[in-house]
Structures are given as structure tokens and as C-alpha cells.
Symmetry: C2
Subunit: 217 residues, 2 copies
């Protein structure tokens, strides 16, 4: 792995563990055993590193959160989405821990973030419409946007919510599974009688995963 990639991955790891504010460029360099000067050879500044991480974040969503095509099984796709949301919430924790700060220091990044989130909102709405087509949920047109916002907010801020009530800031995988369960709770509220069973099965799956992880530690 190139030094540049190593810097990115070390940054993600340290940011997630200690928060973006607490981690300086010096910390990143010394944790890697390189000099600060070397770090600044590869990146213009700290924001530059964060922009590269944001690119990874949006890549992840573009790759794993593709809109449904008409023939797809909506429920099957939903399961896939939940798994990739797990990945996202786990890997990019720090981004939402400090979202306001990060965006307020970098106008360009903020513009990119806003555009990306608007795009994402539409995709989430498409997924909800597809779930409705598939008879899995029942929801009024006018409520779709509101629900989509709630889903996005939950995915974004579940980890900060959890971290705020831990003395040790470290998250476990079980915490993320609990976040996925909150997403399912939101959907379940609109679930049709016929498919309640299937959604409950998904719920049981993540409940079991959360339990297993808890016992491992």
C-alpha cells in the first residue's frame, strides 16, 4: 500500500477512535512512524485528507446503494442495503461525530456533501416506492419524504448518539447492529400485514448478530 493510502487509512482509524478534532496531522504521522513533513508531501493539509476520505464514503454508497431496477426483488435488495449501511456506519463513524465542524471548515466539501445527500435522499425515496410497489410497506405519497429523512438521519447519527452515552468512546459491532434495528423499526411501522413476518425475520437476524457480538466481548 502506498504511503498516501496508508495515511488515509490511518486517519480513518484514528479519527474513528479518538474523534477528528483530537487527532492532529502530527498524531497521524507519528502513529505511522513517518515525519509530519512527509505527510504534507502527500496531502496539502488536513482538509485534503478528509476530502479523500469523503470520496471513499461516497464511492461506497455509489457502489453498494444502486437504485432498484423494476424486475428486482425489493425485499432481497433491502437486505443487501442494510448490510452495506452497516459497513458505512462502521467505517465512517468519525464523519458524523464531527459533521458540523468538518463541513464548516471546508466550503467545497460542504457543497459536495449537500449535493450528494440530495441525490441520496432521492435514492432512498426510490427504494421506499419500490418497497411499496412490492407490497412490503404501505405509505402515503406525502409521508415518503419525511420517512426518507428519518432513515437518513438515523443512519447518520446513530453512532454519535451511542458514543455520547459511553464513558469509553469505543463502539462495538453490536452497536451498529442496533442501529440497523432502528432502521428496521422505522420501516416496520409502515409494514403491511402480509410481509410483517419477513421484516420480522430480518429483525431477528440483526438481533441475533447483536447478541452474538455482545457475548464475544
Amino acid at each position: 500500500m502506498s504511503t498516501k493510502d496508508k495515511i488515509i487509512h490511518t486517519s480513518i482509524e484514528l479519527f474513528n477512535r479518538h474523534g477528528e478534532r483530537a487527532i492532529t496531522t502530527n498524531h497521524i504521522a507519528s502513529h505511522m512512524g513517518i515525519s509530519p513533513g512527509n505527510l504534507y508531501y502527500h496531502f496539502k493539509n488536513k482538509e485534503d485528507i478528509i476530502r479523500h476520505i469523503f470520496a471513499l464514503y461516497s464511492d461506497h454508497l455509489h457502489t453498494h446503494f444502486k437504485p432498484l431496477t423494476p424486475g428486482d426483488d425489493a425485499l432481497e435488495n433491502l437486505a443487501g442495503y442494510l448490510d452495506s449501511l452497516f459497513e458505512l456506519m462502521w467505517r465512517f463513524q468519525f464523519f458524523y461525530d464531527n459533521l458540523g465542524d468538518i463541513l464548516s471548515r471546508d466550503e467545497e466539501l460542504k457543497k459536495g456533501y449537500i449535493a450528494f445527500q440530495a441525490e441520496l435522499l432521492e435514492q432512498v425515496k426510490d427504494v421506499l416506492f419500490a418497497l411499496r410497489e412490492g407490497g412490503i410497506i404501505c405509505i402515503e405519497d406525502e409521508d415518503v419524504t419525511e420517512l426518507a429523512h428519518m432513515l437518513k438521519m438515523t443512519v447518520s447519527f446513530w453512532t454519535p448518539y451511542i458514543k455520547a452515552r459511553r464513558l469509553s468512546g469505543e463502539l462495538a459491532r453490536a452497536d451498529i447492529y442496533n442501529g440497523i434495528l432502528k432502521v428496521l423499526l422505522l420501516l416496520k411501522a409502515h409494514c403491511t400485514e402480509q410481509h410483517l413476518e419477513q421484516v420480522n425475520q430480518l429483525r431477528a437476524k440483526y438481533l441475533a448478530l447483536a447478541e452474538t457480538e455482545q457475548n464475544d466481548h
Copy 2:
């Protein structure tokens, strides 16, 4: 108003507008037209100011979010709670914009925050049980805790969610009303047929308030 109180209120205002990280003790002092030395006469340090603000925050909740007593009209109380949540979300925005940072720099504050949030969770659960008693919502025992967490998370992180998708960080009152609507959306999903109308009336109220505000600006 004493200089001490002025410092607290100026801090809240500046923190809300520009974020806690961006505002230094020097900014606060110069915005008030006093010297930094004077500020440090009244407060030990920046954390000390924030602790005083947290005291205001928890006072507000203790005063306005009293548990229901058996005779109370649950729906009427709900309306009161929503209004005081509005107040809370409006006045203490910054606290949740930077929650992780703020708590990670002050162990004592974090302990206080965690204890307070645990207490609050129980109160929210009590309110939900009372709403169920009153026949307004229908919910399984096992889902109450999950819903209570979702409600708390929504109240806490609605403003950061909105701010993150604005180029200018300023919030309007209409944004907060939209947050209250999200709280109602969560409740509505568990609402009984008989009381759906009344909850929809509450919804219409805040929808109207959001509209009015929007047109004022």
C-alpha cells in the same frame, strides 16, 4: 443582568451560530466588549462556561418535562411536551452540533450527561406508557425502549442534520417545527385509529407554524 449571566448567554448565542469549536473565549469577550481577563475572572475556563450552559439545559428539561401524574390528560400533556422540546432544540442547538467533542474534553460533564440521559430515557418511556394507557398509541412493551431511543435521538440530532445540508449554517424556527413533525411522525406510526385524528390535528398545527415562519422570511 450580571456579567456572568451575559457571558453565558453570549456564549450560547455565538456557539449556536458559529459552532462551539469556532468560538474562542476571546471571541466571546470581544463580542461583549469586555476583556479576556474579565471573562476569566468569572469563569475558570471554557469548559466551565459550557458546564453552566448544561445546567440550564437540564434545568429546562426538569422544569418542563415532568412525568405525568395518573389523572392527567395524556394528549394535552403531549402537546405541552412538544412545545418545550421546541424551546430546547432551538436554544441548545450547539450542544448537539458538537456533542462528541464537548463531552470528550470534560469527563465530569460527560458523567453528568450520561446520568441525565438515562433518567430522561425513563421519563420518555413513562410518557409512552401513559399515552398507551390513554389509548392514544398502541405499542408492545418490548418496542417501547426502542421507540424512546428513536425519539431522543431525533430531538438531539435533528438540528445538526438540517445544518449539515445548508450552506449558511443559520437555522430558522420553521426548521425546528419540522423537527417536531418528525417526532409526531414517530408517534403517529403507533397511533390507534380512534386518536389518529387528534394526532393529525397536532401535526396540522406544527405544519401551519412551519409554513407561517417560512413566509415571514
